[in-house]
Subunit: 494 residues, 2 copies
Amino acid sequence: MAAKTAITPTRAQDYPEWYQQVIAEAGMAENSSVRGCMVIKPWGYALWENMQRVLDRMFKDTGHQNAYFPLFIPMSYLEKEAKHVEGFAKECAVVTHHRLEPDGEGGLRPAGPLEEPLIVRPTSETIIGATYAKWVRSYRDLPILINQWANVVRWEMRTRLFLRTAEFLWQEGHTVHATADEAMAETRQMLDVYATFAEEYMAMPVVKGEKTPGERFPGAVMTLSIEAMMQDGKALQAGTSHFLGQNFSRAQEIKFQDQNGEVAYAWTTSWGVSTRLIGALIMTHSDDDGLVLPPKLAPTHAVILPIYRDESQRAEVLAYCEALKADLKKQMYDDGAVRVDIDDRDLRGGEKKWYHVKRGVPLRIEVGPKDIANNSVFVGRRDTNESQGIGRDDLVAKIVGLLDEIQTNLFNRALALRTSRTQEIANEAEFRKYFAGNPGFAICWFSSEEEVQPLLDELKVTIRCMPIESAGGEGVCFLTGKPTSQRAIFAKAY
Amino acid sequence: MAAKTAITPTRAQDYPEWYQQVIAEAGMAENSSVRGCMVIKPWGYALWENMQRVLDRMFKDTGHQNAYFPLFIPMSYLEKEAKHVEGFAKECAVVTHHRLEPDGEGGLRPAGPLEEPLIVRPTSETIIGATYAKWVRSYRDLPILINQWANVVRWEMRTRLFLRTAEFLWQEGHTVHATADEAMAETRQMLDVYATFAEEYMAMPVVKGEKTPGERFPGAVMTLSIEAMMQDGKALQAGTSHFLGQNFSRAQEIKFQDQNGEVAYAWTTSWGVSTRLIGALIMTHSDDDGLVLPPKLAPTHAVILPIYRDESQRAEVLAYCEALKADLKKQMYDDGAVRVDIDDRDLRGGEKKWYHVKRGVPLRIEVGPKDIANNSVFVGRRDTNESQGIGRDDLVAKIVGLLDEIQTNLFNRALALRTSRTQEIANEAEFRKYFAGNPGFAICWFSSEEEVQPLLDELKVTIRCMPIESAGGEGVCFLTGKPTSQRAIFAKAY
């Protein structure tokens, strides 16, 4: 299999099509017959469940509670915040009727028109804000720190599995505070939570930064984001945290009496990550043989593949595998036991091996009669695609360390790629040359978003964010030569 | 507080209104501004999360995996199964447009009409079946054992929090099998899972039975259900499991090649429980002081209430409470550690105590300076509303037993109520008298659903189910006197 890869085409041949094939071969998701809506298959959903479990714990550890708000938003609610509606009006699924009736030709037609159309939530600031307005009376009711796990719908014209779908799954945090400082601290805290999750669990390095005004969430005063680099050098926005100021509290009348008895508008935030993270994870780590999963999020850490020629060997090999599985499952990794499966399906050995390679299982453990005789097993690592024999008890003792090593290796590899493809660019000529080639992240001083926008449109480049880490200092705009204190990452993007 | 109750009205005064007040006072849910859609507040949602965690584990232990399918169903899909569409056409939210545009008067109007209207899923047999049709080719692809956690919408005209809402949260299992026997075994197995969950976790006794043809799920060959009795004697259907035969596989073309090379339609099942279970739990256990939670599902098992007169006592009392909390959390109950909170808010003692009474926390532990001096605490049980002093270390040693005792007591109390209000009824006169009084479950022989329906409609009584346990035997119909082998539970119902 040296020359042939499990995925066709390869990344080098056709990155977008490679991405679709990785998903298909791993059994993660597929398009449904409903335009733009995907079916998330068990292997993809199990990954999402692991992401949810970790994020949910992080949200609770930072004082948040879960709740659930309506799927539908009255059309008039959207109208209340002008920029918000402007941002979402073009991609709203609109419910206009509440029943079906015979159309007289053997089919059905919508009936029972609603007095007011309902929007399927594209995001829930307005409907949650309307509820919060009822809950908040006094400073004693604050802060409100709530998250919801939900589906949302944005009627996108061009969709791609996980990255951009009409319906997607996400979490959206919505908080209310008595002061701007507190709301800003929350906004930053949740960005940090996302960055920690991306780096420590997804093994995906991210840049934390502030969005320029033109890239802000519709209605926000400030939007922070984490930006990751995919293996093709393109940027992917992986999570956002918004300081909404008093924009939504004014639109929704979220007011409270402060400690001095004065009535004031509250300060709100919202923050979210979605199933898009699955797309980011795939594009960060996978290779030409398919999906590669970071151990901390992999539904299965290790799969044991029993090998036997005939029925006479079967019982012995399976018993050995079961005992090995039991011992491995006693080892603790991250937040629980090592997750081990035995794949005893009746498939040819090669077929079975490649099944798990394509699904990204971090460790494959092959066990045959000869191995049993030596009390050793054959272990394949998905990250390096290297295999080697190892003593059975040695594996049990070392598996947790091995998983840690894979997790670290994946992060370091992604970081090295990002470092090698991040470059400071000082002037327009360099900028044009950089984005005509095989670009990554360009770091540039720039004087204003408006001034650079025409060039960006021409080159199909976007401003990703103004990195928090490198904030401060002075430079000259790469385009205009004007002195400026703003620096940003420019990149092609998903 | 002997005479006055925390909830007004009491159960005896006005059961439906008592139910609403229990929910409001416990902070579980409220109506939203969107007709029929509720907001599930943190305390209600935390209970749902516990239910989900247990059910999800039970589904996985029985071989199921989770996945996620689209929110929207093309209208034409519903048309394919005649009875199914008949059952749901009158309560469908219909999406007809995919954007909003200015209406010329400063407002918005729906725009971008869809070629085919989309239905917000009321249940997902059709959209999931269409996907399964693509997945199933051979007997080797079977069985498919998948569950999804999702929101669904049924445009009900009369709604009530948790019991009947336009949008609700649920899980829906959808499985495909090669044989009728296997599908039937699955249908029965999942009913057993629901019954186990209801009795062992919700502490709610249920009757397992088969629905009569008129009460079946639209499109099912057989519907099984679990039925519970609420404290007002009314029945509540708490979960259903459907044997769909080949009805949906014919409508959706789910076909496979069997071991003999013959192409056959597959056999399917579906099964679900919803946030309605929260309503059932509330009405089974709560009393005139509010919510009562079975320990296995309670978000908090025990709340520690520090009591001190002034700041000088505060530090000592809090330190004692923290140490007690730490020791209690080391105890293992059911599937994890005992869940303990300290409520150190600045509220009057009485107010704080009633806050937790109304929220149904199983144990309240009061700790004041005098208790500390004696190394004892004052413990209040929510199920019996009894309080008593107990040695601090004794409580640590006994808390798990105490929670077990409460769980058992709640089940036994509910079972005793059901037993006392279940009666065999032999003829029409008795039947009329029974349902004119303060009825519960009437067990009757009956010859046919059609024959008894007019009387049921007159008395507003329904056939709940034909209990599996008491199946078999012969009797005479309570109404017609005809010999029959069918026996059912009749009751007023939610």
